[in-house]
């Protein structure tokens, strides 16, 4: 397996330095594609010509600062390895990743999702993901350390975990053939590849090896703390997933198994997003969310579309309402 690591970075030379050091130490990559999304000063100036012994390091840069989604797409376009791992400069790899890659070598899969730790829990001596639903979904699937194929039922469970971009090893041919890419929007750009992967992949593997540590800070730079109208662009990502769902369902009706999880995810996301918007922005969010939910429900069944239409109320708690409606109609 020739692994290309794609790393978007913006003004985080320290994080990138730490990560490149880990990659060199673990010897896991044949190629590292660093995409500098407009850092000032450019990150490359802080590194020697070949900062990862044994791997070819490709430096790409855009001055425009177009966001992590654009940077990942750019890195993916330049990657040449048989497999791709997107990783963020502020997260860290664990030595388990080297073992997982050995286990995966020679296996046929579209992508392999692996477990991770969260720095907030590690600080309390605990392992695994931070969010309780994520912990439950992983427990339901109960993967061992050795990678194995997910059944369709298991895939419709594990697709519900947080849509991190860095917990999957992708076969590059699958990314290309299925057109899996990030939405090029400032926030929520990683929704599309996560769901597109689960919807379009035919061979998904899972490993319980915790191969990464999600490092979460509490300062203002934390992405989830950002507020503003740019969050409303999340519908571009959700819309792209719906289009894919409709296309895949036309080809394989079994893909309808992802409609429920995606509806639930979308509702929860809309609910969460409105806590980070001003009142005028919330109105705009509601208008978009109604149209979106109607489209999604229509793609599932006319009965669901009718039920959703009747349930549309401009109040918080959208998620609970729609999930309830969906449960009744299903």
């Amino acid at each position: 397996m020739k692994l290309s690591l794609v790393i978007p970075v913006f003004n985080d030379t320290a994080g990138l330095s730490r990560l490149l050091g880990q990659i060199a130490q673990l010897g896991i990559a044949s190629e590292v594609v660093v995409v500098d999304d407009g850092s000032d000063p450019p990150c490359r100036a802080s590194f020697p010509a070949n900062p990862v012994a044994g791997a070819n390091v490709v430096w790409l840069r855009t001055d425009a600062g177009l966001g992590a989604g654009h940077a990942r797409n750019l890195g993916q376009a330049a990657a040449t390895g048989s497999h791709v791992l997107f990783f963020d400069a502020d997260d860290t790899l664990s030595p388990e990743i080297a073992v997982l890659l050995q286990d995966l070598d020679g296996l046929d899969f579209d992508f392999c999702i692996f477990a991770h730790d969260d720095s907030r829990l590690l600080a309390r001596g605990l392992s695994g993901p931070q969010e309780p639903p994520d912990r439950a979904y992983w427990a339901d699937v109960a993967p061992g350390e050795r990678p194995r194929l997910l059944s369709p039922d298991e895939a419709s469970v594990l697709c519900r975990v947080s849509n991190y971009p860095w917990n999957k090893i992708w076969r590059r041919g699958f990314l290309l053939d299925a057109g899996v890419r990030c939405t090029e929007i400032p926030l929520h750009n990683d929704i599309e590849p996560h769901w597109a992967g689960f919807i379009s992949a035919r061979r998904i593997m899972v490993s319980g090896r915790r191969c990464a540590v999600h490092m979460v800070g509490t300062g203002p730079a934390q992405l989830s703390a950002r507020r503003g109208a740019e969050r409303i662009r999340l519908f571009e990502a959700l819309g792209a997933v719906i289009s894919r769902l409709e296309n895949e369902m036309a080809r394989d009706p079994a893909c309808a198994a992802f409609v429920g999880p995606f509806l639930e995810f979308s509702c929860r996301l809309v609910d969460w997003a409105q806590t980070r918007l001003d009142i005028d922005e919330i109105r705009a969010l509601h208008q978009r969310s109604h149209a979106f939910m109607a489209t999604l429900a229509q793609s599932a069944s006319p009965a669901l579309a009718d039920a959703v239409e009747q349930a549309m109320i401009d109040e918080p708690g959208l998620a609970a309402q729609f999930i309830s409606v969906f449960g009744q109609v299903r």
Binding site: R61, T62, L66, L74, A77, A78
Partner: protein, 174 residues
Amino acid sequence: MIEALRAANVSLETLRKSATKGTISSGERIAPGVWIDMDTDGGVAETHLETGAGALLHTRVTPSKPGRWCTFNIDLGNQGWSEDALFGVAIRSRAPRSTTARLAVRSFLPGGGHKDSFFSDYLVSFSEESTHCDVLWLAREPDLLARADWRTLIIFLDPEGFDIRFLDIRLFTA
């Protein structure tokens, strides 16, 4: 080298002033000393291109099956480089879908075969106009100082398909 470079820049100037639209086959000259090469075994036989409309060249390829290569080529002639310290390119470009490309000078050796001297930076094109500028320091590129029958500047485009608008390309030495 100055004469060869002047000829290349004249060819680019010809493109800059032209306004055409259509398809072109692999190897067919777009302007004197300027052409696109494609791996025709890969299912691509021609590329769509357009000149004018504010761009030096707008070219796109959507192969039914990706070939092994697709290159944009500019002849650099066979004159020596020994009097120069560097050879540089400046490219303004834009692409609706982000894409990258490597650039190299290919030296065709007197005894046959060729050697590529790659520029260190990747050309990155995306939805906004951007400028790429890079140089080869000739003292570090022995293949460029050695005798060659011919040299060509090559832009290695994505053989899996691309849509790129070269707004301007300038070549220079110093």
